[in-house]
């Protein structure tokens, strides 16, 4: 270590999800310790708790859905406290799952829309229209937080089929570990959540997974390591050390044999607390589908270290900012791109991994939705093998040109 750490005993928050793996591995395999960090992992019961505890200083840093630091800096659906992420924990790992009952209705009304997974929401639209004619109340769907990737993914998938998420459905928020029970109790008809909760719902015969987050948007950032900007400024070297430990854990997690070990580790009561067999498919690159069947092989369902996964792409942050605008969460006249620059910190990432032998992107924005196959990123310290970044809608999101012509980013107050 080249510089002294400002703080070594850290409290880092997480939620019971398969993608807490980088934090669990960094702790249990000694990657935190190798950086001189004594990290206590704190399992929290809600994303609101994670956000508040990071804000109040009860946690030093935490796992967060990728849009959350941006939302906190903007003051969307919560208090305005500038937060940053120097590092992405994983790409993908979510899915949209509906109850058996609803799937049967979808199949009855629009079998042609359910031939080959991934399924669009066209069949769901048919059910919604039928219910409207019969004067039945709107179906209830759940996500995990008003500014989570799941919320935007579900809304995006619904909108693509002409469903207005706020008018045609009732949307609720339920914390991830309670999702399966809510489906079982018929409190909700479907949800968008991270693993292992889709897999568990399918294993228990409660539902069918219609589409994965990978199928919605290939290789999109999912959870990030985040802290307040103020904490980062007071602890710059500690931020770098944390980032390095997590990046090393993510690289460790890319070995198939290590994924098996991760399943054993995460099944522990103090992590996700579900049987190892429930955790394994997602970790081994299989996304859930229907009860009684094998899942669908999807090697990039959950990515930790490949495809420059840990790099906090500002283009992806900007896409989530755009979703906040579309969903009516942004006040008018907000310069989202300036806030994106403030919250997603590729500069900190680069500094952190400078001493690790790994290629790093030299650009902060890339065109999203344009790569339909594996490709090579040339704008990097050495070429990086990348996975596709397509949207299921065919959308192209290319902020690169705009960013070039933009004024230097102003500070947000």
């Amino acid at each position: 270590m080249s510089h002294a750490l400002e703080k070594t005993a850290l409290r880092v928050g997480f939620i019971s999800l398969t993608d807490c793996a980088p934090l669990a591995v960094a702790k249990e395999q000694g990657f935190f310790a190798a950086e001189g960090l004594d990290v206590t992992l704190c399992r929290e019961t809600s994303w609101a708790n994670i956000r508040d505890k990071v804000m109040l200083g009860a946690l030093d840093a935490a796992q967060m859905p990728a849009p959350m630091p941006l939302a906190a800096t903007l003051g969307v659906a919560g208090p305005r406290v500038p937060m940053i992420t120097p590092c992405v924990l994983n790409l993908g790992g979510n899915a949209i799952t509906v109850s058996h009952d609803l799937f049967r209705q979808m199949l009855a009304l629009a079998p042609e829309a359910l031939r080959e997974p991934p399924y669009t929401a066209d069949a769901l639209r048919a059910v919604i229209e039928a219910r409207r004619i019969l004067d039945k109340p709107p179906l209830v769907f759940a996500t995990v937080f008003p500014t989570s990737t799941h919320y935007y993914q579900l809304c995006y998938w619904l909108s693509a089929a002409g469903i207005d998420p706020l008018r045609d459905l009732t949307l609720k928020v339920i914390s991830p570990p309670h999702m399966v029970r809510a489906l079982e109790m018929d409190e909700i008809a479907g949800f968008c959540v991270g693993e292992p909760w889709n897999g568990l719902a399918v294993d228990l015969g409660l539902g069918v997974s219609l589409i994965s987050s990978y199928e919605i948007w290939n290789n999109a950032m999912e959870k990030v390591l985040a802290m307040t900007e103020a904490w980062h400024l007071r602890h710059p070297q500690t931020t770098l050390a944390l980032t390095r430990a997590v990046v090393r854990a993510c690289r460790w997690l890319e070995k198939p044999r290590h994924r098996e070990l991760a399943a054993i580790l995460l099944s522990r009561a103090d992590y996700v607390d579900v049987p190892q067999q429930v955790l394994e498919p997602a970790l081994m690159g299989v996304r859930p589908h229907r009860p009684g069947e094998h899942g669908i092989p999807q090697p990039e369902f959950l990515v930790f270290g490949r495809s420059a996964a840990n790099f906090p792409w500002r283009s992806q942050g900007l896409w989530y900012g755009e979703q906040m605008r579309i969903r009516g969460q942004l006040p008018p006249n907000v310069d989202v791109s300036a806030v994106v620059e403030r919250s997603y910190r590729p500069d900190v990432f680069r500094e952190a991994v400078a001493e690790i032998d790994m290629p790093v992107p030299t650009i902060d924005y890339k065109a999203e939705g344009v790569q339909h196959h594996a490709w090579t990123l040339q704008e990097a310290t050495a070429p990086i093998a990348m996975g596709p970044n397509a949207f299921f809608t065919g959308e192209r999101f290319d902020p690169v040109r705009e960013a070039v012509h933009q004024q230097p980013a102003g500070r947000v107050h």
Binding site: T45, S46, A48, P146, K172, V173, S175
Partner: protein, 191 residues
């Protein structure tokens, strides 16, 4: 009209007492629910002015979502910067209390609501610590009694003699009585 409060807490004993105190302080408690089940529907149906919730309740995210839907839903205390100072927010977080309130509630009302809740959660936590202590000492006494009986049977000695022998053994082995008793009972070894 009284301020209408919803309590969300998984510990019935604590929430019953909190309900009583809030009533005495002039609040109307519209319902007490535990955990997350049907929280969304309950809030929509009861339209409370404020919600007091255990910080560790998974239902918090449901409340955050509702707060983001509009003015008619209670907002997190942490966002009511005008009526709640950061010190109180921090105190509440330490005590494990989170409060939500509609923006029309006056600052003193929110503060007194939060104060009552904090006081309750704290005294409950104290009680729990006391209770745990009492339980531990009860268990330890039972353990020592059983070990004593074992010695009395084996050596055909009286209760007082058995107790003395136990104490001497503990001192020789530098163990406390509790650990020694556990060892005797699990291994049967006394020498």
């Amino acid at each position: 009209m009284a301020v209408r409060v919803l309590i969300v807490d998984t510990r019935p004993q604590r929430s019953r007492k909190l309900e009583q105190s809030l009533r005495e302080a002039g609040f109307e408690v519209v319902a007490v629910i535990d955990g997350e089940d049907a929280l969304h529907d309950k809030v929509c149906e009861l339209a409370p002015d404020a919600v007091v919730v255990d910080t560790d309740s998974p239902g918090r995210d449901t409340l955050e979502h509702l707060a983001s839907l509009g003015q008619r839903y209670p907002k997190p205390m942490i966002m009511l910067s005008e009526s709640v100072d950061p010190e109180l927010t921090l105190d509440a977080a330490r005590a494990g209390v989170t409060a939500y309130a509609v923006e029309t509630l006056s600052a003193p009302v929110v503060r007194s609501l939060v104060d009552v809740a904090i006081a309750h959660f704290r005294s409950h936590a104290l009680l729990r610590t006391e209770l745990v202590k009492v339980q531990r000492s009860l268990e330890s006494r039972k353990l020592i009694d059983r070990a004593k009986c074992r010695l009395m049977e084996r050596y055909g000695i009286g209760e007082e003699a058995a107790y003395q022998r136990l104490r001497k053994l503990a001192m020789d082995r530098r163990l406390n009585l509790n650990d020694l008793a556990r060892e005797i009972l699990s291994t049967g070894a006394v020498d």
